[in-house]
Symmetry: C2
Subunit: 244 residues, 2 copies
Amino acid sequence: MLELAILGLLKQQELHGYELKKRLAETFVSGGGVSFGSLYPALSRLEAAGAVRVIEGGGEPDAIPMTGALTGELAAFRARKPVTRGSRGKKVYGITPRGEQLFEELLAADSGTSDDERAFNLRLAFARFLPHEARLGLLERRRAYLLERLGRTRHAVRNGWERLDAYTRSLLEHGNETTERDISWLDRLIAGERAQAPARPEGPAAVVSTTTFHPDQWMDSDIPTMPAPPEVLSARRPQQGGKT
Amino acid sequence: MLELAILGLLKQQELHGYELKKRLAETFVSGGGVSFGSLYPALSRLEAAGAVRVIEGGGEPDAIPMTGALTGELAAFRARKPVTRGSRGKKVYGITPRGEQLFEELLAADSGTSDDERAFNLRLAFARFLPHEARLGLLERRRAYLLERLGRTRHAVRNGWERLDAYTRSLLEHGNETTERDISWLDRLIAGERAQAPARPEGPAAVVSTTTFHPDQWMDSDIPTMPAPPEVLSARRPQQGGKT
DNA sequence: AATTTCATGTAATTCGTTACATGATTCC
DNA sequence: GGAATCATGTAACGAATTACATGAAATT
């Protein structure tokens, strides 16, 4: 899991551990991100497996502070020391071909993809590296899981209503609303995905139901249906509100 | 964490492990619930600590199948065997005074309450056992955390927008919307809490700002404000759609 | 000069899972 | 009588955390 995230980030850009941790916290992991105690060992494992390696010199050419004039061998010696270490003791990592391969494997592995929120989010963040088929599958499995869970929760709430206190009720109701919105969101993503699907030369043989929303599946009424306008992903930029 | 959930459930009703697992899955834990591999050891620990104990006979009087006529000592022997085991080999657990005390301690311990979703949800589910003060604190700390996280994420999204692909953008935007709705939900709960607060005889000395929503705190515009109608918790019952 | 931030790592511990092993009871 | 479900438990393992330990570079 962590490995997948690391490899995915290193695919875009060479980074050192500290920076990696920041990116991880910003983009994927919901709370706080990972700790150094798991990040560095993970990097070591990946390095041992030949999936990543330390880049000589690092991303930014770190301008080794040459102290004026010192000739020949001494200069070479001075320069050799921080070779694997960047300006500040940093170890900048890059992904290797083996790493790319490992990334593909980890990304494709759908073990517990739909039932684990973190795993799903992570894979969605790298969905551009998946073929259309797999991408759709990822979204639809997640949707199916949420739908099933919603059904179970609704059932449980209805059965235990009397037993539950106001706080638990509110918690469960809010949870269900969130799940409903998640499903609608997935519907939009799925619609967008189908819209840009590669037109199969096979003809209309492989039409797999016209996607968006079968109200029957909800096994319950009173849902804010919202049949997902086939607006291909989101294109809105956030308002540039801040300074500079 | 698990201990707290177990104790809380046993406070309401005596239960055996298997049933406990079901309740746990229904009410608290978002995905699938806990496994037996963690539940039973937890029960053992609690029993060893004197926080729970096996109930003689179990909750439902399990009608030991008396096989017609068998007199005196033999009947006593037959009856003695399942004494600690309920009809089916069940071990029905009940909470002890020590357990009640432990429950209070675990519930009050606010270590990582606001930053851990599971911990927060669990405590909210047992919020009725907290004094008003602590309940408000729980809600407000969670709210503050979400607000801060929202700020961080917004900032990160704005900074890295160019670098992010459509899927990651959608993921982050949806995540932010969810967080905004969570905050609004908390606002409603907090408002409800204040509405039913015990009127302090101290006078208007301890008025701690009129609660609901300071748009300034959002440090950003374009938020669907929704200033939370002071409707005391939720009173709507779900449509009784099913049978019986 | 002192403090903060950057940067990397190790060791012990926590919390949970999966897989395995067992057996009773109910339903068909 | 055989399968499904109920019911309890153990052992091996996994993934991550916290706490500890260290030190260089930038900032004040």
